[in-house]
């Protein structure tokens, strides 16, 4: 398997507050990596670093052999290889669903409009939203917005997809429809890095689990089922316990 993403000795701080210390990670093509951990552990910051939205103090991130450096000119080229979906969807409110999807392919990748529209409609159809193409984001439910955001990211044909707690802002009954979409993507062979609090979803989708706490990787394993049954570290045990209730 070919290595798509490599992170070595990543170090990130906000002022005097160290958020990520000496993080190392390698992700192969087609792999689905799920990052879990308590809030404030640095998992969202980590995703933002991968996309060059945060500057890092030291370490190297490369995607498909190209280094990620925030603020550098080539960063826009690199970002086209990395799709990102945010917790708060961040659709553009002044554009319709279809316009949201085709804006970047047309303006950034200079694709033909007809071609972009055709692909957008196909993908919207796959997530069950083809009939909503002329709606504005305000007219959609949270789950629908999030599925559009996923389509918008997919349309750029990214090598790797980042999901930053994409269901955290959703009503419970809408979580499912979004997770279904992500599961389908995983089955189709997409490379994904997912930050989530949905443990059963993590178990179902992950090829590998990374447990992050206080800015460092505490546990990393391909044995996904085993992790949730019997985590090796005390910290992971303690964290997983917060999701269950005893009578």
């Amino acid at each position: 398997m070919s290595e798509l993403l490599k992170v070595t000795h990543l170090y990130k701080e906000f002022g005097t507050n160290v958020v990520l210390k000496d993080l190392n990670l390698s992700v192969n093509k087609g792999e689905v990596v799920v990052i879990i951990g308590p809030s404030g552990c640095g998992k969202s910051t980590f995703l933002r670093c991968l996309n060059g939205l945060e500057e890092i103090q030291s370490g190297v991130i490369t995607v498909d052999g190209l280094p990620v450096e925030a603020g550098k000119r080539d960063i826009t080229k690199l970002r086209q290889k990395i799709g990102m979906v945010f917790q708060s969807y961040e659709l553009f409110p002044h554009k319709t669903v279809l316009e949201n999807c085709i804006l970047a392919p047309i303006k950034v990748q200079k694709r033909e409009k007809d071609d972009a529209v055709k692909e957008a409609l196909e993908l919207l159809d796959k997530v069950g939203l083809a009939d909503k193409k002329d709606y504005y984001p305000r007219q959609l439910s949270g789950g629908q917005k999030q599925r559009v955001a996923i389509v918008r990211a997919l349309l750029m044909h990214p090598e790797i997809l980042l999901f930053d707690e994409v269901t955290a802002a959703l009503d419970p009954e809408m979580v499912h429809e979004v997770l279904e979409t992500m599961l389908a993507l995983a089955k189709a062979g997409s490379t994904m890095i997912i930050v989530t609090h949905e443990m059963s979803f993590a178990e179902a989708v992950a090829d590998r689990i990374i447990f992050l706490d206080k800015g460092e990787i505490v546990e990393e394993t391909d044995n996904v089922f085993g992790f949730f049954e019997q985590p090796k570290t005390e910290r992971a045990k303690k964290f997983l316990k917060t999701f269950s209730y005893e009578k």
């Binding site: 933002r48 996309n51 060059g52 939205l53 826009t76 080229k77 970002r79 086209q80 990395i82 799709g83 990102m84 945010f86 708060s88 961040e90 553009f92 409110p93 002044h94 554009k95 319709t96 804006l103 970047a104 303006k107 950034v108 990748q109 709606y135 504005y136 984001p137 305000r138 007219q139 918008r152 990211a153 750029m156």
Partner: protein, 219 residues
Amino acid sequence: MNTDILIEYLPLYKDALFLTLRIGWQGIFLAFVIGLIGSAILHFKIPVLKSIVGVHIELFRNTPLLVQLFFIYFALPKVGIQVTAETCGKLGLGLLGGAYMIETFRSGLEAIPTIQTESALSLGMNDFQTLWHVILPQAVSISVPGLLANVIFLLKETSVFSTISLMDLMFTAKDLIGMYAKTIECLFLLVVFYLIMLLPISIIGAIVERRMRYGQFGD
């Protein structure tokens, strides 16, 4: 009130209105341009220019237009900068209005959350594409009510133009009162003409504001 006098004075007021509108709109256009450029400078935090814009805002927002006009019209010629009364009016209105427009556009830009910029960037857009396709369309529509409020404010401010001997509505009223003492008729026409000038914009402003508040894109 004497209707004959009203009719007799009407053409004088009409000319004055046109003069006010002509200078007013050109001054406001200048203010608009200054506002766009200034707010872009502040948005991108361009060094040096940023400080100049800051000083301009503070100077012109903290002094009366009347004093600004006196300075431009009476003081600047002493150091070799001579402008006509009309140019002075446009310039004064433009500089004063610019200071307000910059603030209006800037708060429009600031109202767009950073994560909108980030989501555009994460789609591979560069800074300019992000500003042009994503941030600016949203910022401008947020700024519209503030913009209209500025237009009304600036048109009202034109009432000091008479002090630099521009024959605007105030000048005409004061002149006629001084000469013929038909005070009531003159004041009546003064009010009517200001209403003609400002009421339509005020109504448009109220409608726009209501639409902005209750509905946005797609409602």
